[in-house]
Each structure stands twice: as structure tokens, then as C-alpha cells.
């Protein structure tokens, strides 16, 4: 993992001192609420329906056991003993006191964490593949580049007052686990025919009110040009992005209005002035960042007997067998596996985690996974480097701590925003919908039989629950003061991403589980072989679903 040097520590210390002063001026009445607003947002602090909410960055999802323990302590000392994992791989605290936030930030800085630019109209936390560095389908580890981007985007003097928020995602694998196609900038690290490393650059994707799949504006950008090219994109956006209407202010609207080609020309023209300046990345810096993400000293393990021992135990313990079927991810190193700890047991708000559980994950990480963990875009936690021979012991401990729900990738591993229970933007609650669906589909054999399904729930158009890219998306809408839910089908977050289509008129909260049941029945009746939901939908289209759901 990246480690701060004296410069990183100094910059973050100065930021906290700055924010402490701003908070004091605000509390003393010397700083207007509307002027404090962007300042607190860029330090992670929202004011929500019931209390402030502090969003703490987990840069590209990487977190170590020391940081997890500190988070646990912060949730105990400053909050109500739990936190929430967001779809941008961050942690959110729901009940901190505004006056305490500078102290919380200081506690985070001690363990090399921050809440810098986790909200506001600026460049947000860069997200990445939770299986970076260990996935067999990965071409290049994206994390060193994520760290390069983290530093460049942090406290960037020119881009702190953009037209709207700006999100960057980076992947280095064939299978896109970061939804790069629906980001303001999506980067795929690649190697060209001459073995040079670079990026395929996609711009102008996004969700929200106007979901758009991004456009590729550069097929191969050599790695040393990463920052100057990003700078050119951001400058064009900062100067020409719309500011008259916040719903038209994202870069996707600019790219659409100009056309991807004209936008690209504008970026290239700007880039000519930035290219090859001192801001160009050096090989030394790339190597320095890579040095923090080298492969650990893995034990040499013969995979076959290790796998046989796991399967033997699975034969004796059905629950373990279910868990290894759903909650493991293959590791590129022989004898190892990545484990997904599920934060989606029924009855808990998806992504919620207690202080006690944070401490336990820290312990599990130390004991079984080289002291590190990762947060995922679908609101779970990954232990990436577990020896197969440790899986059974890990499973028993994870089960006792409530993390072993064997539902990863299934219907009940749903993505869900905090919704109307917490968020002041929401039109409708989302957590009770998630729970109602989990309760309705409690027969795991049925759920397994359905195969991988992304069920994503957002409480409003802002789409924090990524409903547009769920195989089944649920969107909370407000109809004359009543909460209703629109259902969308056919979304897809990974490569060849797709935006779901609206099924038809919205439903009441009580009807949602039945509607989902009907949709699943139509899927089961129509699927061929072990076809996934998205593929059946692509083949048969919306009509059979619509017909059945709205049948009188």
C-alpha cells in the first residue's frame, strides 16, 4: 500500500489546520453558511436529513488493518458505533458533530487517511478494481496510477470549483469491475504491441438524471502523459461545462453537446500546450508509486492439494460449500484465494458495518490477508490474499462476525444508497426496499439458481445506488408526496455497459417484492440453459416482463 512521506503528511496537516479555522469561523458566525458549504463538502462533510454525514475516502478501495482499527475507534468515539460503505468505496459516518470534524480528520491523518474532496464540485476519490494486483484477468495493476491521480487531484488549485462533481475510475483488467464506462473519466491501463504502458481514455459517462455511456477519446495515451492529458480534459470542462443548471453540468452533457469528436479536438488542442512540460510524469515517479504495490512474498503452495483439502471440507460442511461457491474470487497465485466478506445479511442496511466488525476485519486481515483489505463498489469488503488452507478457519470467524452470508453476486447482494432514511436529497426510502427484497427471497437455493444478478436501488434520480446499471434497477420517486418505485431492467455495469430501460409505471413500496418475483419468474421461464438475467433480457426484450407485471 502507498505510504505517506513528509510531504504528504505536511500537506494534509495544512489542510486540517485550514478546515479547523473555517469550522471555527463558521461556528462563530464569521463565515456564511453558503460559503462554508463548498468548504465543508470538500472536506467530506454533508448536512443530511438528521445529522451531518462525513464521507471518508478509501483511496481506490485500499485500506490496512491500522486504518480499519482507527475507523472503528472513530465510529465509537464520535459516532454511533457504525459506518457505511458507499458505492465509491468510501466509508460514511452518519452522526458526527460538525464541531468534531477537524479532530476526526486529524485522527484519520495519523493513519494516512483523509476525507479530501469526497464531495463537492471537484475531483472525487478515484475508484478501482477491488481485485487489483491479484486478478488473473488483469493486464496491469491500476493502483500505482490511482495513487498518481490521487496526488494530482488532491488540492488541485485550478479544479476545486468545477461545474459539478467529477469521478475517475481506473481498471487494468479485461473484466471491468469498476464501471469505467459510466464515469466522468474511465481509464483502462493497457500495454500496446511495443510493450509500452498507457491508457485507453473514456470520457463523459455517468448516471444521475441523464445516464450516458462514455466515449473513448484516446485509444492509447502513453503513461507519462497521464497527468497533462487529464489536466487538459479538466480545463476544457472547467471552462466550457454548463453552470446554469446543475442537472446539465456534468461533463457528459458537455461531451454530448459538443459531440465526442469536437470535444476530443478541444482537449487535444489544449493538451498541445501542456504535453511534455515539467508536469509530465517521470519514470522515477511511476516506479516510486509502483514500489508500493509490488507482489508480497507469497508462500509457494501447490494448488491442487490445497484445493482438494478445501473441497473435502466443503463436502462435510454444506454452509462452507455454499460460501466458497459464492464468496471467493480466484487469485492469480497458486494456493491463494480472495474472499469477499458480505455486508449484505438480511436485516442490516446494505454496506453498514459496526465498530466491532471493523475491528474484526482488521484482525482477520492481519491473521489471514497480509494486513490489508479492500472496499468494493458493490459495498462489500475483500480480503485479497488468503491461503486456501486458511479458508475454513476464516469462514468460521467471518460467520461468527456476521460476514459470511453466502450471497455475493446474487440477488440479495444488492447495492443500495442510504436513501430517505438518511439522505436529504432522496425522494424515497431505499433501505426498507432492500430489506423487503432480502426477506422475500430468503430461499438461497432459489437465489443461487437465478445466477448472478445485480439488483441496484437508488432513493432518487441522483442514482447513488446505481439503479441504471443494475440487471434490475429500482428507483425511488415522489408522486404527490407519496413514495413510489420505478423498476428498470437490463442495465449492465461491466464491459459493454448498458443503461437499463424503464419497465413502466411505478409501484408502491408494498408491491415491489411481488413485482421483482414476477420479473424473476418471467426470467426463469424464458432463460436458455444457464443464461444470466441480463442475457435473457437482451434476447427476449422488455415485452414479456412488461406484459406479465402489468397484466390485469
Amino acid at each position: 500500500m502507498y505510504q505517506y512521506d513528509q510531504y504528504d503528511h505536511q500537506i494534509i496537516r495544512e489542510r486540517i489546520a485550514q478546515f479547523r479555522g473555517q469550522t471555527e469561523r463558521y461556528l462563530a458566525g464569521d463565515l456564511k453558511a453558503e460559503e462554508f458549504l463548498p468548504l465543508r463538502l470538500q472536506n467530506g462533510l454533508y448536512v443530511q436529513r438528521l445529522a451531518p454525514m462525513l464521507r471518508i475516502n478509501v483511496p481506490y478501495g485500499m485500506i490496512n488493518s491500522t486504518q480499519l482499527r482507527r475507523l472503528a475507534r472513530i465510529t465509537r468515539d464520535y459516532d454511533k458505533g457504525y459506518a457505511h460503505v458507499s458505492t465509491r468505496q468510501n466509508f460514511q459516518l452518519n452522526w458526527p458533530d460538525l464541531a468534531d470534524v477537524p479532530d476526526i480528520l486529524a485522527e484519520l491523518a495519523e493513519v494516512e487517511m483523509h476525507a479530501t474532496q469526497s464531495s463537492g464540485n471537484c475531483i472525487r476519490n478515484t475508484t478501482s478494481d477491488p481485485f487489483a494486483g491479484i486478478a488473473a484477468d488483469e493486464e496491469i495493476d491500476p493502483r500505482p496510477y490511482c495513487e498518481v491521480i490521487r496526488q494530482w487531484s488532491s488540492f488541485h488549485p485550478e479544479f476545486a470549483f468545477l461545474p459539478r462533481k467529477f469521478k475517475i475510475a481506473v481498471t487494468g483488467a479485461d473484466h471491468d469491475r469498476v464501471a469505467t464506462e459510466v464515469h466522468d473519466i474511465g481509464l483502462r491501463v493497457i500495454q500496446n504491441a511495443d510493450d509500452e504502458v498507457g491508457f485507453r481514455v473514456m470520457v463523459g459517462g455517468g448516471l444521475g438524471r441523464t445516464p450516458v455511456i462514455g466515449s473513448v477519446i484516446c485509444e492509447f495515451l502513453p503513461e507519462k502523459h497521464l497527468l497533462t492529458y487529464l489536466e487538459a480534459i479538466l480545463r476544457v470542462y472547467n471552462l466550457y461545462g454548463r453552470r446554469d443548471n446543475k442537472y446539465k453540468a456534468r461533463i457528459k452533457i458537455l461531451v454530448k453537446a459538443m459531440g465526442a469528436e469536437a470535444f476530443t479536438e478541444k482537449v487535444e488542442a489544449e493538451w498541445q500546450f501542456l504535453k511534455d512540460t515539467e508536469a509530465t510524469l517521470t519514470q522515477e515517479e511511476i516506479d516510486r508509486c509502483k514500489s508500493f504495490f509490488t507482489a508480497p512474498n507469497y508462500d509457494v503452495i501447490d494448488d491442487e492439494p490445497a484445493q482438494a483439502r478445501v473441497e473435502h471440507l466443503a463436502g462435510e460442511h454444506v454452509a462452507f460449500q455454499k460460501w466458497i461457491t459464492r464468496n471467493l474470487f480466484p487469485h492469480k497465485v497458486s494456493g491463494y484465494a480472495a474472499v469477499v466478506l458480505s455486508l449484505k445479511p438480511t436485516g442490516v442496511a446494505p454496506g453498514d458495518i459496526t465498530d466491532r466488525q471493523l475491528d474484526i476485519i482488521a484482525d482477520l486481515a492481519d491473521k489471514y490477508s497480509l494486513g490489508e483489505a479492500r472496499t468494493t463498489h458493490d459495498q462489500n469488503v475483500v480480503l485479497a490474499d488468503v491461503k486456501k488452507d486458511d479458508l475454513f478457519a476464516l469462514w468460521e470467524e467471518a460467520k461468527a462476525a456476521g460476514f459470511a452470508t453466502p450471497n455475493i453476486g446474487t440477488l440479495t447482494d444488492l447495492i443500495c444508497c442510504p436513501g430517505g432514511d438518511f439522505c436529504s436529497l432522496a425522494n424515497a426510502k431505499s433501505i426498507p426496499i432492500a430489506e423487503a427484497i432480502q426477506r422475500r427471497f430468503d430461499d438461497m437455493d432459489y437465489v443461487y439458481d437465478l445466477g448472478d444478478i445485480d439488483l441496484n436501488i437508488s432513493g432518487c434520480m441522483n442514482a447513488c445506488g446505481h439503479h441504471h446499471i443494475g440487471s434490475i434497477g429500482v428507483l425511488g420517486v415522489d408522486k404527490k408526496g407519496q413514495e413510489f418505485y420505478q423498476v428498470q431492467l437490463g442495465g449492465r455495469s461491466y464491459e459493454n455497459a448498458a443503461i437499463g430501460k424503464v419497465l413502466g409505471p411505478a409501484f408502491s413500496q408494498a408491491d415491489v417484492p411481488d413485482v421483482i418475483a414476477t420479473i424473476l419468474n418471467v426470467f426463469v421461464e424464458n432463460r436458455q440453459g444457464d443464461e444470466l438475467f441480463v442475457d435473457t433480457y437482451r434476447r427476449v426484450g422488455m415485452a414479456p416482463f412488461k406484459e406479465r407485471v402489468y397484466a390485469k
Partner: protein, 164 residues
Amino acid sequence: MPNNPKIIKDGQIIDNEWLIVEDAGSSLPEGKLLVSLEIWEAQKAALIARGNIGVWLKNDQDPASLAGDLQELPIIGIDFPVFMDGRGFSIARLLRDRYSYKGEVRALGHVIRDQLCYLKRCGINAFDLDDDIDIEQAVHSLNDFTDGYQTDASQKVPLFRRRA
């Protein structure tokens, strides 16, 4: 537009010598004037002959319009109508970085003191701000950060080339 008697320049509070002129009107007043791009473009030759003229840009005006005139201009202003609108940050960088403008770049209008540090890094060295800003206090925010990761208008070497 502000036109305050006192401004911040190069970290000091000094008397403001430049009067912002928004409309052409019948005739221009005496003294040092900061005129709009429209006035400049309409009367360029006369204004150059007159001397003591600077130009201020709206934040949707491209500094390229002034690229050929920079030698004539001791000062360029950038209007900040609302502090949340960050276009002026990029305009300042274009003036400094692309057009190598060496004169005074002055922020006019509504920026808050907490933006001064970033504005300075973008190349703005003077501030004629809205009345309700206490510039005695604001001047302290110019140096909230002693270093940054990126290149900027005055630091051409990014931190990654300077790390020891």
C-alpha cells in the same frame, strides 16, 4: 463590480489605483482604468495612446482575445460574479502559463478568503473583493498551503520531481 479603496496585492494591503469601467458611456474618466474587453476592442488604438489602461475579462471571455495585446497591458482583471464559478481559475492559468503574461492579474468581485491560496497558485496576484470581505483577515489565507502536488503558475516543477 467592487472598486474598493484598498486591495490585496502580492500579499500586502495597498491603495487601489485602478478604477473598473463597465460601460463605455460618453467619455472615460481620468486616471488608471480597468476597462471591459468590449471597450478595449472598440477603442484599442486610442486607449493605447492614452496609456494607463488595463482590461478586465468576464469569465466566459477567452484570454486569447488579448494574446496580441499583452505588452500594452500592465494589468488584467478577471471577474468573479459568484464564488462557486471556477472558470476564472483556468483563465488565470491560461494568462500565466500559455500566454506568459507577467503583469498584474487581479480577481474582481466575489471570491471568498478561503479561495485565495488556490487563486494565488493559479497566478492571481491581486484581489479587489466584494465589500463584505475583511481583507485584513483574508490576507492570512493566501498561504494556507506551503506546498502542493501539482505544477501551478509559479511552481513549474511538480512535487514528484522535487521529493527528497
